[in-house]
Symmetry: C2
Subunit: 340 residues, 2 copies
């Protein structure tokens, strides 16, 4: 059996994270205790929210400790078990360490059915990003037939699912993304009505006004900053704004100064609400059932951007802030050989 | 019978409004048509939201036209009638011109019962400000027993009712106001737990942190700007922020730049929602019934700041932006002699 490896956070990023903030350590494969399983990592998820945990500022999740392993979404295979309800060969998903092998209590992971969908989707459309899109859009955004829904970070793991759900609900869907490839994908593959490349658009407000002749009813915000300022200037009476992320700000070292949103909200009786997927943990089954159904019917497509190799996890994470990923960014750590 | 007078908006204020923006005109008393009543103004309401209508920027109500009479809340007495259901001597409330005498369609005013409460309360605790407090706090703020509610503009017509409803709901109530007299009144007369004079407090964030040892669950915002920035830095997970007004900004000529609220909302899964009382017009009866009940039981007290004389309406309006009013600012235009 090969050796274990893990990735530690060794310094807190100032501004944009850098590979020097991380260190790969050779360790030994842990011995499991009663009630635990040994999980071999297959896919590791890298997500924008993890940037928040790398700072020691207050965020919606506690900070990572320095010189400890980073925790995130992992899909893996049980290769040893001392737990009643998990067997060797089972595929599980959970928040595990950035390690090749994790020893975890069996109740810390969830078994997934590899016959329903590719196992990597448990980190994407049928996992945290899918549920984030589902609850943020439907519970906070409450899109109605014929309304206009604008999505920033539209070609990310969450954004592209939001847009497709909004289309299912009969909305006009306008996506904002950072490359022509992404814009093409959103329109041609996912059926967005309009997509705008913010990097090549000089006047975002003008472009949005043209894309949204009836104003904006729902703004699903993944990015914050200037792009959101432009959207806010165009919202309709009664607009709803789910705040899912503010990736444009995560690497700011100082306070986020700009036009305050309050006046736009006040004059439009509009609602803005932050959320994290965990706010809806009691309803995950409902969400997964509906998302699986839509994927099966072909109403929701998903895209994955897969990098290979455990050692490339930090690089894949850094890529999120350069907008390199179309869809869900994953790292494939090991080959999976399903049992027959 | 005396002559009629009316007050026109003759120029749009730049920054703080000035008496020169208004002009008093002598006119004749109008002749009423079928279905109309002639209403003699008794009390005229001046309200912060009217500043928005004096600009030609988009707001939640359309702008006042230049060289036309200003429209606002008025309580008056019917002195002539050509309408079936209103009689001479009836007291009514409605959105009427700043005139001594208004001819209006009978369905544009609401008859009030002068035996239930002083007629001026139809412009205050039992009118628009009371309903604003009621729906904003209860529907958006949703205060729960034991939670901490912070109110800016706490000694204004809306703020002091918000605080008293929050006390009825079992909350810790912290008011922010602009003078020691107001602060004393909030604590000693209205039962606020803490009140802070923002004009004499150097570090608002520190003062609020001390006043709110368990953080802030509901922030009822009447003022915006720096005060709101300080409050936002202390909100709890799941906080609710009804945006009722932004009086600190109404006289700004440029965009309101400051820390964007989005990050605070995101990391706390918090909700911020603008509203106007008209959003709840279908539920006004419910609100008035409950407010009347609380006033009758002595659970809600109200304060009125009454200036005398029609010609002083502009001055009373300007006083709102200097924080001169404790409670509802009214102008008494004529003496009322109730019929026996």
């Amino acid at each position: 059996m090969e050796k274990n490896q893990e990735i530690l956070l060794v310094s807190r990023p100032k501004g944009l994270p850098h590979e020097d903030n991380f260190s790969i350590l050779d360790t030994s494969i842990p011995t499991i205790k009663e009630g635990e399983v040994l999980v071999r990592s297959l896919y590791v998820s890298v997500d924008p929210y993890m940037r928040g945990r790398m700072s020691d500022k207050k965020s919606y999740v506690p900070p990572y400790a320095l010189h400890e392993v980073i925790i995130g979404g992992v899909v893996g295979e049980v290769i040893e078990t001392k737990a009643d309800h998990l067997n060797v060969g089972d595929v599980v998903v959970g928040y595990l360490g950035w390690r090749k092998y994790n020893a975890v209590e069996a109740n810390q992971v969830t078994k997934i059915d590899p016959t329903l969908a590719p196992i990597s989707t448990a980190l994407g459309v049928l996992g945290m990003p899918g549920l984030t899109a589902y609850f943020g859009l439907l519970d906070i955004g409450q899109p109605k037939q014929g309304e206009t829904v604008v999505i920033s970070g539209a070609a990310g793991a969450v954004g592209m699912i939001v847009g497709q759900i909004a289309k299912i609900k009969g909305c006009r869907v306008v996506g904002i993304a950072g490359s022509d490839t992404k814009v093409d994908y959103l329109i041609k593959e996912l059926g967005f009505d309009v997509a705008i490349n913010y990097k090549t658009t000089e006047n975002m407000k003008k472009a949005l006004a043209e894309a949204c002749p009836n104003g904006i009813d729902v703004y699903f915000d993944n990015v914050g900053g200037d792009i959101s300022d432009a959207v806010l200037s165009l919202i309709n009476k009664g607009a709803r704004i789910p705040l899912c992320g503010q990736i444009s700000l995560y690497n700011l070292e100082k306070a986020d100064i700009g036009p305050r949103a309050q006046t736009a909200l006040l004059i439009n009786s509009a609602l803005m609400k932050g959320f994290i997927v965990g706010d809806y943990s009691q309803r995950f089954n409902e969400g997964l059932l509906q998302l699986s159904q839509w994927v099966k019917e072909g109403k929701i497509k998903y895209a994955e951007n897969i990098v290979e190799g455990f050692e490339n996890i930090p690089k894949a994470f850094l890529g999120l802030f350069k907008g390199e990923n179309l869809g869900k960014q994953l790292v494939k750590v090991a080959e999976w050989h399903p049992k027959k």
